[in-house]
Each structure stands twice: as C-alpha cells, then as structure tokens.
Symmetry: C2
Subunit: 336 residues, 2 copies
C-alpha cells in the first residue's frame, strides 16, 4: 500500500481545447474511512465525454468543477479497509471515486461487482454507464421498430457500439459513423453494422446518402457539428433523435446548426437525456446486456491507458476521437 | 353571380423572399359540380405561413406547388349549387378550396358551419386550423403544468394568441414575443399574458431574461431564427418545445442555430408537428375553445384584406409580420 494518494485535479478551466496544463497531479494523504465507510483502492478509471462539460464554468445539469477540485469519474476498485459489514475487504465495487488512487465511500454510493459474471472493467463500459446510456437512449427515446434505419455517431465508442448492436438485435438497418478505416471496419465486420461512414474519408455526404436509401428513422447523437447537420437532412417523417452527446462541440465554438427545419417538416422528436437520472432503468438493462454478451450477440472493446498520471493525455485523446473502444485508465492491478 | 372564376396561381417558385411577381391572377370558367359535389362561393380565404413552404420545390410533408398551380388555402363559403342532399343551397362550409372565388367539393371534403354558434370566419382561425394547432401543440407536446412558464413567439398571431390564452387558463406564467408595441400591448392588456417582449425594441435579450426569472418550461415556436436561439438559451430542465413554424427562416437563408447544447444539458424535448395529421383531435378542441369564447376567456382578432386580388400582398405582409391577428381575405360578402 502506497504511503500517498495520487490525485488528478482540475487546475484551471480549459480555454477552448483541453490541454495537460489544465490538470495538476498531486499527492495527498490516503483518507481514513469513517464509521459507515469503506476505503477503496481504485483499479480502473472511466474517461467519458461528459467530463468535459463539468470543466466549464457554465450552467449545466450538474455542478461544474472549480480550480483545485478533484476530477470526477467512475471507478472500479477493491475494498481494502471496511467499516461496513456488507462490504468486506476484497469486495470489488463500482463507484464515482474520481481520478485518484484511493477513495472512501458509503455503501449506498457503491455497486458490488461479481468478477465471475463479467470482467470488472465492464462495469465502466458495456455493463455500466455507457451501456445503460446506449440501451436507454435507443429503446426509450429512439423506440426502434424492425426494418427501420438507425444511425449512430461515434459508432465504435463505448456508447455507439452498444447502440448499434442492440439496434441489430431489434431487427433494424444500422449505419454507423466513425473516424477512420480501422474503426469503420471493426464496426461492420466485428459488430455487424450494415454500413459505417468514415467521416475522415472525404466523401462523407455521398457515402451517407448511399448508406441510408430509406432515410433515417432513429438517430443516436454523440458528436454534433457537421455530422449532426448531415443526419438531420436525411431524417424521415416521425424520426426520433436521442441527443446523448455533442463531443465535436465541446471544445471551442458551437457548430451553427441549420437543421431545425427538418424537425418541423418531418414532425421529428429530438430529446436530450442524462442516464444518471434513470437509475431504476439500469438493473434491467444490465441483466439483458449481460445475457447478450454471454450469447455472443453483444461485443465490446476497451482502450486502456496505463497509470493515473496518463489520464489527462488519454482524456484529451478521447475528446478528439483517438481512442478505439471504451477509454479506461488502469490505476492499479486487479489483484495486489 | 359573376360569369368567371377569379383565381390566384403560383406563377413561379419564389427566389428567396416572396414577391407579387410570383403570383398570377387569372379568370377561368366557374366549375360545374359533379353528381356527388357542391359548388361553393368562397367568402373568406385563410392566409397561413405553411403556404410558404409549399411554394418551394423541396421535399416536405406535403407535395409542393408547381408553376401554374392554384394556390392552396383554407376557405369558408356558401353552397350555391348542390348535388348533395345533406348540403343544401345556403349551407356555410369550411374546406380547402384555395385562392379562388368558386370551387367544387365532395361532402367529405367540407365541414358544415353553424353561423349561430360563431361567426363563420372563426372556422379559419380560433375555431379552425390555427386554433387546433395552438391547442394540440401546447397541450399534447408542451404539456404545461400550473405555475410553469410558457413562452410563445408570434404571440399576437392566429396561433400564438390562442396558445398564450390557453396557457393562462391552465394556470401558467405566459410570456409572449411579438413585433411592435401595439401587438405587445394587445397581448398583455387584451389577452392577459403576463408579459410580452417586443423583438423590435432593441433590448430583446435583457427584456426576455427579466420576463422569465424562472426560465422557460414550455416553448411554442412559430418563428425560429434569433428568437429561437434566445429562448433555447433560457430553457429549464425537462423543457418541452413544440416546433410549429419557423417563419423567420422561410424566406432566404436558414438561421444558424447554436442551441442544441441546451437540449442536451436540459434534457429537453423538441418536437415538430402538423395539425392536419391529428384530425381526430379537432372536434374536442373546437368544442372546448368554443366554450371558452362564450365565457369570455378566449379572445381573437382578425386582420381582413379585402378582395382576392389583394391576397398576394396580404400574404407577403403575413410573412414579414405586418398582419395583426388572424390574416383573412374577404373574397365576397357573407350574404349575397
């Protein structure tokens, strides 16, 4: 057990694009668990686009970070000291302990993981927040019907890859949008999407039109910007759009979207959502997705950066699409 | 009875803004009703923003007009020749007979009006398409709850004025947006809105912020452009936006909207709709609104242009907000 607790703080609000200078790595005392708390050694940290929004000092659905605050984030770890009988030492838990090696939490802030059911890292991906985001947004907002065309951006990512695979399970035509040939090949060959448009290939608009001959019934939006503009121009009557993220717009200027007329003309529905407001949805979705993983119908891919000190760089890469699969940071070994 | 049937045709697709040169006035033979038809002498023509969309040769929810086509439009008139026993001569009817003095129609294309219940012109306004549009969009998409803040643009218009008055009946705080002091005064003093922002007054943003201290829960959108941008920036969590029209964008360039991030951050729902797809909704809404009119809770105002030949000019005025109340054209006298 290290004598200190390495933490990554937000040093300052980013000015446009996030840089490593916006973070500060510090060593603090390892906290002591209170009477109803456990001490957790963090093993994996999840890096997710929503964190970018918390770094800006603007009104949002959650309080933003202030300079000097610990970076927030989902974690998977092991209980190493316990004052809670139901969480003995050695228990694997999922929580929101942030960008640090050690954290304390109460029982109601943690979800117990069974490493025999699935690798513990999946609690941060397909069987955690990103997977539930995909399931909820697609099924509750998108409401796909068999034969409809479902489009998802950031298609090889933690959320997009699950959206597309569930849509295939539901009998839809699925078109992904991703950056680069490797990601597009993966999405089609490994995940079974019907097509994937490479937005870096230069003929995005023509390729997208060709891939959506019957236009778009459901759009699961992760990126915004030019891609959102393009997809709205292909919406079908009564299309449903789930706005999950606008990562292309998080750094710098918002993209001037001209597609609201397509919402009117097509009587479309556009809805934003935040999965943490639908916690009762998670258990059912996780159970169903766990079953699909066992049946080989739902695949996932992880992109793991090694060491907490590399988290800022990995996060900057995530924001520009450099990751390939669910972005994690390995803070420590699964077993000491 | 005139020997000819004056008609207004679309001469050409507008190039940007609509001009009088886009129309042609012709005289044709008065049609003869077929075996299951009636001949109607049109008395009032309704002018509505949706007509602008039909004049562009682009994909929309309805077929667009071709050069030489009769301009479409809702009408109120009197049956003057009948081959339908249920529609004797002298019956007042509402239909879609277009910009012309006379038209033929079948019984299922007409709605019989009782001039004792309400002035027949209201069948084109508060007790017709605009009123039902307001009722449906507010109640079904907006779903206002007492105490919530409802905002409506084009607040003194045929739709907006009804939206705001229903929202007041439902116990909401209602803020209108309209162009000019006369319209704003009318909306507040006559219609009972809590506030009205004059978008021509120069301090629109500050005035709007002051008028929405608890932000915006329901937005009924009729105009688009800079006003839409402003209102989206004040949306509350779980706000509902009904996209009814984008009149500010119908002529010329679409406005580059940057507000989609507010949809995400506020988990808002944005939905377009077309009232003609919800015909089963009309009778209940009309009955309810007719009751409110009798009780003095629902007021309306008409702006009547005289003579079919003035319809193009009145339509151009409507598109730039020159009308004050529901825009009608008087084609002929109510009684010959």
């Amino acid at each position: 057990m290290a004598a200190k607790n390495t933490q990554v703080l937000m040093k300052q609000h980013p000015k446009g694009g996030v840089t490593e200078q916006d973070f500060e790595i510090v060593e603090r005392e390892i906290p002591k668990p209170g009477p109803d708390q456990v001490l957790v050694r963090n093993i994996y940290l999840s890096l997710d686009p929503y964190m970018r929004g918390r770094m800006d000092p603007v009104r949002s659905y959650a309080a933003h970070l202030h300079p000097g605050d610990l970076m927030i984030g989902g974690t998977v770890g092991e209980v190493i000291e316990s004052n809670v009988p139901s969480l003995p030492k050695g228990t694997y838990v999922n929580g929101m302990l942030g960008w640090q090696e050690y954290g304390v939490a109460k029982a109601n802030e943690l979800r117990v993981l069974d490493p025999k059911v699935a690798p513990i890292s999946t609690a941060l991906g397909v069987l955690g927040m990103p997977g539930c985001t995909a399931h909820y947004g697609l099924m509750e907002i998108g409401q796909p019907k068999p034969g409809e065309t479902v489009v998802v951006s950031a298609a090889s990512g933690a959320v997009g890859s699950v959206v597309g695979q569930i849509a295939k399970i539901k009998g839809c035509r699925v078109v992904g949008i991703a950056g680069g040939k490797a990601k597009c090949d993966y999405v089609v060959t490994e995940l079974g999407f019907d097509a994937c448009i490479d937005y870096k290939a230069g003929d995005m608009h023509a390729a997208f039109k060709a891939a959506t001959p019957e236009r778009v019934d459901v759009y699961f939006e992760n990126v915004g910007g030019e891609i959102m503009e393009m997809v709205f121009g292909r919406l079908n009557s009564f299309a449903r759009v789930a706005i999950c993220g606008l990562i292309a717009q998080y750094n710098g200027q918002p993209y001037p979207f001209t597609g609201m007329r397509h919402v009117l003309v097509n009587r479309a529905k556009v809805q934003g959502f935040i999965i943490s407001e639908h916690m009762s949805y998670w258990p059912g979705a996780i159970t169903e997705m766990g079953g699909w993983i066992k049946e080989g119908k739902l695949k996932y891919r992880e992109d793991i950066a090694d060491g907490l000190r590399n988290a800022p760089q990995a996060f900057i890469g995530l924001l520009s699409g450099r990751n390939f699969g669910k972005q994690l940071v390995r803070i420590g070994p699964e077993k000491l």
